[in-house]
Amino acid sequence: IEFKYPVKDYAGKVNEVKLGGKNRKTVKLGGQTSLYRFEEPQPNAPTVTFDVFDIPMNGLPRPIKENFEDVMHSPGEWAQKAVKEFGADMITLHLIGTDPKVKDKSLKDAAKDLEEVLQAVKVPLVIGGSGNPKKDPLVLEMAAEVADGERCLLASANLDLDYQKIAQAAVKHDHAVLSWAISDINMQKVLNKALMKEGLTANDIVMDPTTCALGYGIEFSIDVMTRTRLSALKGDEILQMPMSSGTTNAWGSREAWMKKDEWGPTKYRGPIWEVVTGLTMMLCGVDIFMMLHPLSVKTLKEIGTTLTY
C-alpha cells in the first residue's frame, strides 16, 4: 500500500517583523512559509509579552495580583520582575493612566513611565495607550519619540482614531504598529492598506484581529484568524502580517473570576482560562500573545516552542 505525507506548497509567506533595537534584544515575529511545521520548519517560536501598567491596577484578579503586588507601584520594577522571575520575552506597557477618565496623566508623566521601563529592562516593548481614541494618538506619538530607534510595537492603530498620526510617528522613529480590527477581515485589509499609505512597510505591521475569550465568542476569532493566515499563505499580500492576541481578555470571562463554589476555585480557573484561550489562538496562527499570569505564560511558551522545530 502506498503512503504519501499530505504536505502542501504555499504561494505566499508571512512577513517577518523585527522588534527591539539599539539598546535591547531583538525578537522576530512571523516568517512562516507553511501552515504546519511538518511542511516547513517554523522560523520563530511564538512570543509572549507580559502586561504591565502605569498605575497600580488594584482591580486585577487576585491570582495575578498575588504575583505582582509588591511591584505594582512602579512600572519599571513590575517589568523587571516579569522578565527576571517569569521569563517574559517582551513587556507591554499599558499607559492606561493617560485616559482622562482614569488619571488623565499628562504626556510628560507618561513619558517618565516609559523611560523608567526602557531603562529597567532590555527586552523589546509593546507600548499601549489607554483605549481613549482622542488621546491615544498623542500618547503614542510621544512614546515613539521617547523610544526613538528601539523598534517598539505601538498599540494600537484602528479606524476609529487618528491612525495617520500613529503611523507617521512610527515611520519617523523606526517602530512597528499594531493594526487592530474587530474580527473583520475586510476592515483589517482597509486598515493595513491605510497604514502602508502613511509609509509603513509590510515588515512594520502586526495585526490584531481581536481575541474573543473562550466561551465569549472564541469561535469568531478562530474563524477570522484561520482565514487570515490561510489567505496570507495563499498569497494575499495585505494579510501577510504576523498576528497578535490580546489573550488577557480571557480574564473578563465570568468563569475566570466569578466566585462560585460549584465551579471550583478561581485560583485555578483564571490561569486555565487564559491558557486555553491563548493556546487556541496559537493554533490559529497567532505569533505574539499579551498575557498576565506567570503559569499560563509558562504553559503557553512550552507548547509554543515544541511547535517550532
Binding site: 500500500i1 499530505p6 511538518f38 469561535e219 478562530i222 480557573r269 482560562w273 493554533l283
Partner: protein, 457 residues
C-alpha cells in the same frame, strides 16, 4: 469537498413524485446536499444508484455510534478541515477513565462523579459522555467483574485492554451495549477484529506515531469486514505534543482532502497520559491534562480519554467544545419577545436585554438565581451582545420602542420605567424619545441586577 445538489439530482429517479416530502427531486437533492434530509426518505431510489449516492453523501469522516439508549454518543461526521468552511459535526466525546483495580467504593464514587458532572452554558447542559474502563490489573477476571459494574449504567463505555482474552471476557458482559473496543494493535489485530465483528462493536486502532503502518492496519481491518474504526496515532505530551498534533492533522487532511478511505475515521486522543509522569503538584497535572485536551480538540480529536474529573478542569475543555461545534451558519440567538421571571404583576420592573444566546442565558441565569420577579424584554439584535449591538446600531431607540409596542408591555404594568443594561447607556436618551418611557441605566454586569433592583425598586 462538498457534493452539489446537481451531482445528487443526476442520480435521483427524477419522477417528482413527492413521496420524500419535498416538492421535487431537485428540492430533495438540495436538502440532501445540506445534510437536511436522509436518503432513505425517497422510496423510489434503489440498487446501484442508492449505493452510489450513499457513498457520495457519506461524510469525509465516518460517523460512529458508541453506546446504546439515550446517552449513546455519535462521533465523526466531519466534512471540512476548518470550521468556517461549513461547520464541524458531532462534538468531541469526552470520556474519563476508571480502572479495574479500584476498590468498589472508589469505583462507584468516581462513576457517579463522571455521570453527574455538568454545568450550564447558553441554555445547554454540558456533560461528560463516556467512561473508559482500563484493564490496569492485567487480569481478565477482574476486567470482567469491573465491566459488570457498568452493565446497568446508561453511560457509554470504552473498554481498554490490549489483551484479547480480557476484552473477550468484558465483551461477554457488556458487548451488547456497543462499547468502543480499545485497542487493536499490530500484535493483536486478528483476535481483536474478530471480537469487534462478533459483538458488532466499534474498534480503535492504536498505531503509535507511524501513519504508514496505520494505513496498512486500517486497510487490514476494513478488509476483514470491520466498518466502525477509530484511529489512535498515540498521544505524546510535553516536548512531543507537536508530534501528536502533526499526526492528527495529517490523518484529517488525508481523510478530507485526499479522501483516503483508510483514514476516513474519527480520531482518539488520550490526554490522561499526563498522569503517567505527573507534575510535582496535582493541580499542575490537571492543568496540563486540560491544556493537552484543548490542544487536541482544536486539532480534530473526536473522542478523548481523561483521568481528572474536577469541574474546574473540565469547564474549559467542555466550553471549548461547545464553541468549536457551534454552527457558524446560524446566529446564536433566542426568540425576541417578552419573558416573565418569578411572579409578575402590574408593579413588576421591566428590563431589557438582547437576543444573543450568551447574553440572554447569562441574564436569565442571574435573574433566576437572584429570585427576581420581573418582565424581560428581549430585543432582536441579530444575535449580538449588548455592546456589540450598541456599536453596530441594532440596539437603538426605534427598535426598543417597537418591541415595547409589539409586546403590549404598557398594558401589563402600571408604570413607565424601563431598565436597560449599563453598556447601553449611550442609547438611553434615544429610547426615551422614541418610547416616551423613563429609562433607567442599570449595572454593567447582570449579576448585579438583583441587588440593584432591591435598592431602586
Amino acid at each position: 469537498m462538498k457534493v452539489t445538489a446537481m451531482d445528487i439530482y443526476k442520480l435521483l429517479p427524477k419522477t417528482n413524485c413527492g413521496k420524500c416530502g419535498e416538492a421535487s427531486c431537485m428540492a430533495f437533492a438540495a436538502k440532501l446536499s445540506q445534510k437536511e434530509a436522509e436518503l432513505s426518505a425517497c422510496p423510489q431510489l434503489k440498487g446501484a444508484d442508492f449505493e452510489k449516492l450513499a457513498n457520495m453523501l457519506a461524510p469525509a469522516v465516518r460517523e460512529i455510534k458508541i453506546g446504546t439508549g439515550d446517552r449513546a454518543v455519535t462521533i465523526g461526521g466531519d466534512e471540512v478541515l476548518y470550521r468556517y468552511e461549513l461547520t464541524y459535526y458531532n462534538p468531541t466525546a469526552v470520556a474519563v477513565d476508571l480502572s479495574d483495580d479500584m476498590d468498589d467504593s472508589a469505583f462507584d464514587q468516581k462513576l457517579v462523579k463522571i455521570k453527574n458532572l455538568e454545568f450550564e452554558r447558553t441554555g445547554e447542559i454540558l456533560k461528560l459522555n463516556a467512561v473508559a474502563l482500563r484493564n490496569k490489573s492485567g487480569d481478565a477476571e477482574k476486567f470482567k467483574k469491573a465491566a459488570e459494574k457498568l452493565k446497568d449504567s446508561e453511560i457509554p463505555v470504552i473498554l481498554c485492554s490490549f489483551d484479547p482474552k480480557a476484552m473477550d471476557a468484558a465483551l461477554d458482559v457488556i458487548g451488547s451495549k456497543r462499547p468502543l473496543i480499545y485497542a487493536a494493535t499490530e500484535n493483536n489485530i486478528d483476535e481483536m477484529s474478530e471480537l469487534a465483528l462478533k459483538h458488532n462493536c466499534p474498534i480503535s486502532l492504536f498505531v503509535p506515531n507511524d501513519l504508514e503502518k496505520m494505513k496498512q492496519l486500517s486497510r487490514k481491518l476494513r478488509e476483514s469486514g470491520v466498518k466502525d474504526i477509530v484511529l489512535d496515532p498515540g498521544t505524546y505530551i510535553g516536548e512531543a505534543i507537536g508530534d501528536t498534533m502533526d499526526n492528527f492533522i495529517m490523518i484529517r487532511r488525508l481523510a478530507v482532502e485526499e479522501k483516503d478511505d483508510d483514514f476516513r475515521f474519527p480520531i482518539l486522543a488520550v490526554p490522561a497520559v499526563c498522569w503517567i509522569n505527573p507534575e510535582e503538584d496535582e493541580i499542575l497535572t490537571k492543568m496540563k491534562e486540560a491544556t493537552t485536551a484543548a490542544a487536541l480538540m482544536n486539532r480534530y480529536a473526536d473522542v478523548m480519554i481523561l483521568h481528572g474529573v474536577d469541574i474546574w478542569e473540565m469547564m474549559p475543555v467542555l466550553t471549548l467544545r461547545q464553541s468549536l461545534y457551534t454552527d457558524p451558519r446560524k446566529p446564536q440567538s433566542v426568540e425576541a419577545k417578552i419573558y416573565e421571571f418569578g411572579t409578575v404583576d402590574e408593579n413588576s420592573p421591566v428590563i431589557m436585554t438582547t437576543n444573543f444566546a450568551l447574553t440572554y442565558y447569562t441574564v436569565a441565569g442571574d435573574l433566576k438565581s437572584g429570585k427576581v420577579n420581573c418582565y424581560l424584554l428581549v430585543l432582536d439584535t441579530n444575535g449580538k451582545a449588548v455592546d456589540v449591538a450598541v456599536a453596530g446600531g441594532q440596539f437603538n431607540g426605534k427598535a426598543a420602542a417597537e418591541l415595547m409596542k409589539e409586546t403590549g408591555i404598557e398594558k401589563l404594568v402600571n408604570h413607565k420605567k424601563l431598565i436597560i443594561p449599563g453598556l447601553a447607556a449611550s442609547v438611553s436618551g434615544d429610547i426615551e424619545d422614541q418610547s416616551g418611557w423613563e429609562v433607567i441605566v442599570g449595572t454593567r454586569d447582570s449579576s448585579e441586577v438583583p441587588a440593584f433592583l432591591a435598592k431602586i425598586w
